[in-house]
Symmetry: D2
Subunit: 368 residues, 4 copies
C-alpha cells in the first residue's frame, strides 16, 4: 500500500504458500476502485522471479525474507533494494525486579504466540541474576505448559526452503510491497527433527540445560514436513554463548516456538552488550527495566531498529502505529509510519524556484 | 563532516591527484580540536582501497565518482552504499523568451565555468524554437569567445582513469565523506584528442554542426595528458538524438568544456521528455521558464534530484544551502542540508517506552 | 473536535438560531462513545455567556464572529483568546487573461453561492484592465441571472444582531469550538432595505454604477426580517475607493449576495496593494494569474491568511484539507490542519530529561 | 533578534536601569551592518511607553515583566501580546535519594546564584521525606554559608517599582525583543527590611521555622534602597501552605536569595500536585528523580512550560539551547529555539497554488 500511496507501480510476488491471501487482498482493492493497471501481481517460483528482476531492472525492490537471499538480491540488483530481513531478537531483563506475573506473561507471548513464527519473536532472553532468584522461570514454564494444540495456542511450523519468497519489485517507476507480514523467518522453519537436533547440539554446550519443552507434539495429524514441537527453552551460560565456536550455533534463528535463556551478574553487562553487538541482524529488541541509567546504558550501546524500553517492554508489539524495521544498515527498510513509507517508497527531490525578477540595471558579469 | 556530526568513525579516501587538499583539511580539523582517532585517512590506489573495503566490511560507504565504479562497489558491498554519481545534466528553455542576456550568461557559466568540470555542469541544452529565433546562440558564442587561458576562465581537463577515486568508508560504525566536491566527473575527463574525436563522431550525425569551439587551445604548456580545448558546443537535431544508434553517443558525459545543443518545436516537448527519461543518471537539471504550466509539465514528468526552475534557473548553483543529489535511485545520496546528512550518515531507530504502570487489578490473560 | 483531540474540556456556545445543529452533533458523539463529561454545551444569550466567561476564567477561548465582539472579548479575557473573525475578502485578476468562462464561474460561486453568506465570500474584485476588455463582466451577469429562489441558488440572508454568538470557552483546562462554520459574518447580515440603502450610498460615489442585481427578490414568503435581494455587483472606481471618506463605506462587509467590482491599469497595482493593506481583517484572498512575477509581487505585499494563487484561484475553497484562518494578528486562529489544531488548542511544553549519571569523580564546584 | 530574523521592524523599550546595555548592543549591531532603520529604540518611562503603544497600535507586543503589568497591557492592546512573565518556580525531590552532594549543590545554585535574581530561580522546594532524612538540608546550609559578598557569590537585590519595564513593541509590522534576560522578577525585588518582614510573616505560620539565613548582610556599602540579605530558607509545613489564608503569602515571588522549603510523605503527593496546580504562573520547574513512574505522575499532572526531569534536574538551566517559556496560557511566549521565534514573531500563512490546467472539455457547472 505504501508503494501505491507514493505513486509507484509495484509488482508483487508473495511466497507461493500464502499468495492466495494477497490475491484476495488485491481483488478487494480492485473492488474498492483501484485501477487494474496500478499493481501487477505475479505467482512464480524464486528462480523465475530472480530472472524477472534482472530483466525488468526495477527502480527499487523491497525484500522481506532471509538474510541469505537478501544478500544475493542486493548483488543482483546492484544495491537497488531495501530489506526488512530476519532478526534474532533479544530481550534483556534489568536489575529491578517488579511485576513478575506480567513480565512472565509477556515473555511467553513474545516467544511462543503464533508458535514463535513472527520476525519479531523473542529468540534470546538475558536475565539479570535478580530475576533468576524470582519466580519468573517457574511462571514461564507454567504459561508454556498451558499452550495446547486444540485451541491453537501452539501449532505447526510452516517449514520453507531457501527460495526467494516475498520479494516484490517495481517495473517502471519504483516498486513492491510486503503483503503478509510475518513469514519473514520461515526460511528458518525446520522440521521438528531438525529443531530437536538443533536443541541437542545446544545441550552439549557445557552448563546448558533444557528448561522446558524439547519434545514433539503428540496426537495430531500435522504432516511431518512441518515442525511441531512443544514450546521450548534452553539455558546456555553467558560465558559459553560468547565463545567463538558456540556463538553462531546459539544465535541461529529458529522460526518456531524456541528460545535461548541465559543470565548475567551485575558486572557482566558488558559481556551481554558484546553478545548483542556481534549479532548481524538488528530488528527488534526489548529492555525490561524502569531504571533510567540501565536503559540509557543498554539502548546507547545497541543498535536494534525497533527497541521497546521500560517495564512493559516486549519484542513483538510491532507493527502497532510505530516505525518497525532494522537499523544500522543503509539498506534497512521500515514499515508502519508515514516516515517509513517515504523512506522506502519515495525519495527526496529538490526543486529550487528562481523566477526573478533580475536586479534592476543588471549587467553581464565577467566569466569565471 | 556530515559523517562525523552523526557520530560515525569514517575512513576517508580521496583521489590521489587531490588528496593533499583533504590532508590539509584534516590537519586543520585536528588543530581545531578534532580527536586524532575520530577520522581515519588513507592514501592508496583503487585496487588497494577495494581490498580494504571488502575486508573492513564497513556499515556504509559513500561513493562519489563514475557510475561504472559505483555499480562495481554496490555489488562488492552488497548494496551498503550511497552514491552521488555523475550526471549528464540538462537544461530546457521554455516557450517564453525573456532576459536573453541573462540566460545566455547563465548558460555560459553552467557549461564552461571551471572548464566544465563540475558534476552539475550543463551537458545538453534543449531550446524552444522561440529561443532559436532570438540572439541567444550568438550571445553564447560571444561569451565563450571571451574565455582565455591567461585569466583561467578556461583551462586543462584533469583526465583520470577509471580507478575508484573518491570512495570513503567507515570501519567500525558507518562511513565516509566527499571532501573535494567537483571531481565527480573526472573519470570522463579526456585528453583533447579524445574530446575532438568524440566531437567528430557527433558531427557525422545527420544535421549536426559545430556551433563554436572545437579546437585545441594554443600557446600553452599544459602537458598532453590533460585535455585542453576551447569551449565547444555541437548542435544535434532532436530527432537524431532519440535514435537508438545515436542516443548513447550523444549523452556520453564529457568532463570538460563541452555541450550538446538542440532545439524543439511546441509539439515536440514529449520527445524532449522522452530523451530525459532515457538518461540513467538524474543529478541536476534546469527548466528556464516562468510559464507555470510549462514548469509543471516538465517537472512533473522528469525525475532529476536537484532541479532549478524559473527564468533564472541554472544547473550549477549547487551546493548552495540546499539539498544536492540525484533522485530516483534508492542508493542516491544527498549533501548540503541536515536532511541530507541524516539520510546518508544516520538511520531511523525507534525506541518505544512503556514504563507502566500496569492497569489496576491486571490479571494474566489467556495465551494467543 | 480539535479542542477535544488535544485533551481539553471545552464548553460550547453556539448562536441560538443554529444551536440545534450542534446539539444533534453532540448527541451523535455521545452515541459514538464520547464520555458525557468531556464536553459542556450551553444555550444562552450573549450577556449570560459573557458573564460566564468572566467568572469561569477559561484558559482559552476561541471566538468566531464579528470583529467588534472579538475586541470586547479580548479585553474581557485579558487576551486569552483566539479569533477567526470576519473578512472583507478580495480577489485580484492579473494581467494574463485566460479561461474567461472558468474565471467568471468561479467569481459567481465565490460571491453568490450560499447567497454570499460565507466568511470567505468574495467581497471585492480588482480586475486588470485586460479583463475589463474581455467578456468577463457579461458572463458574470449571465451567471448571476440564472440564480433562482426555486432551486435555492439564491435565498434569504439570516440577519442577526450584534450579540456575541459563537464564542465557546474552556472551563477547567482550556476551551472551545466553532460548530457551524459559516455564520461568522451574520452580524453583518442586513434586512434588504438596509442592503439596498448601502447600495444606494455606494452609487452616490462619483463614477460608480450598478452592474447587475440591486433589486429585492419577488414572489416569495421570506419574512421581512431577513434580507432577500438578487445577486448584486456595484462598480466603484479605484481612485474613489482609496479616498478616506469612501474607504470605510466601500469595505463594509455585507453578509449577503453583494460585491464591489473595480478595475486597475498596469501602473495602478500599487494603489490596489495599498487598498489591501488598509483593510483590517485578513482572512482569505485570491490572486488569479499564472504570471509568476505578478503573483510574487501581490503575495509578497499582502498578508491575508488563506491566499489562493494561480489561474484557478478562488476565495471560498476553504476549508478543504488546508489551513484556514487570518494572518498578521497574534490572536489569529486557524482551523483544518493538525498544525492549526495544535496552535489553537495546545501549547508547547519543554521537558528536558537529565537522568545522569554524574561524571566520574565529580566534586562540588565553587558557588556562582 | 528573533523579531528581526522574522522580518519585523521592532521598537525596543528596556527598563531604564539597564537600557544602557541594550543601547550598546544595538550600536554593535549597526557596526556589524544592521541598517539604521531596521530597529527603533526608545528610552522613556512606563507611562510614556503605554501611550506610545496605544497610539502606534503595533501588530504584536512581547512583554517580559510582572503579571500585573502584563494583564494591563493585554487589555490595552486587546490581546495582541505575548508574555514571558514571572514564575514562582518549584522543585520536587522524588522518593529515590541519590547523589545528595550533587543535588544539594544544584539546589544552592538554583536558589541563590545571581543572588536569586533569575526568572527561573528556585522559589520553593518540595522534599520527599526520604530526603528529609538525608544530609541534604545540612549540606544546603553549608553551601549557603560559603557565599560571600567579596567574591560576589551573594549581592544586592536591584529593587524596582512596578512601572512597565521591558515591553517592546512593533510599530509597522509586528514587534519587539527581550534584551536583558533576567530582570523579569525585579518588580518583586524588595528592600531588605521588606524581605525580612515577609520572612517574619511566614514564620508566624504554625510549624514554620527559619532553616538558615534571615539576616541582613553586614560590612558593606550597598545603598539601602537595594535589598541585601544572606541566602535564606524558610520551612513551612505542607498542610499550612495549602490553607487558603496562607497560600498567597507563601507563594509570593521574592526576587532575591530567598526560598521556601517543605516536605511531603509518600501519600501526600496529591497535596503537592494541588499546590502546583493553584500557582498561576507556570514558567520553569524541576522534578529530581530517576523513578520513571514518579516522573510520569508529576509531569503528567503539572503544566509548567520548561520542566527539567531526572536526577540532575535544575530550575535555572535555561536558556541553554532549548525552548524557554511558560505553558498553559495562549499568550505564552517562548525564547531560545527556532520554533519559539516562529511562534512569537511570525505567523502561519497558507498560500494554495492552483495554476491549472483546466480539465479537458471543462464546461460551466450549475450554480450552487
Amino acid at each position: 500500500m505504501g508503494a501505491l500511496y507514493m505513486g509507484n507501480k509495484p509488482i508483487i510476488k508473495v511466497d507461493s504458500k500464502v499468495c492466495i491471501v494477497m490475491e484476495q487482498m488485491i481483488r478487494l482493492l480492485h473492488d474498492c476502485g483501484l485501477p487494474m493497471e496500478d499493481v501487477d501481481f505475479i505467482n512464480c517460483d524464486g528462480k523465475t522471479m530472480n530472472k524477472l528482476l534482472l530483466e525488468a531492472n526495477p527502480r527499487m525492490t523491497l525484500f522481506t525474507g532471509s538474510s541469505k537471499v537478501a544478500d544475493k538480491l542486493a548483488v543482483d540488483l546492484k544495491g537497488r533494494i531495501k530489506l526488512e530481513d530476519a532478526g534474532f531478537d533479544w530481550k534483556i531483563l534489568g536489575p529491578d525486579v517488579q511485576e513478575v506475573d506480567y513480565v512472565a506473561w509477556v515473555c511467553d507471548q513474545d516467544a511462543y504466540a503464533c508458535s514463535g513464527q513472527k520476525c519479531s519473536a523473542q529468540s534470546i532472553l538475558f536475565m539479570h541474576e535478580n530475576w533468576s532468584a524470582s519466580s519468573l522461570l517457574r511462571q514461564m514454564n507454567d504459561l508454556a505448559a498451558r499452550r495446547k494444540l486444540h485451541d491453537l495456542t501452539i501449532g505447526p511450523v510452516l517449514t520453507i526452503g531457501l527460495s526467494p519468497r516475498k520479494h516484490i519489485l517495481a517495473k517502471m517507476v519504483t516498486v513492491a510491497v510486503s503483503g503478509v507480514d510475518d513469514i519473514g523467518k520461515q526460511c528458518m522453519g525446520l522440521q521438528h527433527e531438525e529443531m530437536l537436533e538443533h536443541m541437542n547440539k545446544l545441550l552439549q554446550i557445557s552448563g546448558s540445560k533444557l528448561l522446558f519443552g524439547g519434545e514433539a507434539l503428540e496426537n495430531h495429524s500435522i504432516p511431518p514436513i512441518y515442525g511441531a514441537i512443544k514450546p521450548t527453552a534452553v539455558f546456555v551460560p553467558l560465558e559459553e554463548i560468547l565463545k567463538d565456536n558456540n556463538y553462531e550455533l546459539v544465535t541461529r534463528e529458529i522460526f518456531g516456538p524456541f528460545q535461548i535463556i541465559t543470565d548475567y551478574k551485575n558486572d557482566q553487562l558488558p559481556m551481554v552488550l558484546d553478545a548483542l553487538e556481534r549479532m548481524h541482524a538488528h530488528l527488534s529488541a526489548a529492555v525490561v527495566s524502569n531504571d533510567s541509567l540501565f536503559l540509557q546504558e543498554v539502548i546507547g550501546k545497541s543498535v536494534n531498529g525497533t527497541t521497546y524500553a521500560g517495564l512493559r517492554a516486549r519484542t513483538t508489539g510491532a507493527p502497532q502505529n510505530h516505525w518497525f524495521g532494522p537499523a544500522g544498515d543503509p539498506r534497512g527498510a521500515g514499515i508502519g509510519t508515514p516516515e517509513a513509507i517515504k523512506l522506502v517508497w519515495s525519495c527526496h527531490r529538490e526543486i529550487i524556484y528562481d523566477v526573478g525578477p533580475l536586479p534592476q540595471h543588471w549587467e553581464t558579469p565577467p566569466s569565471s
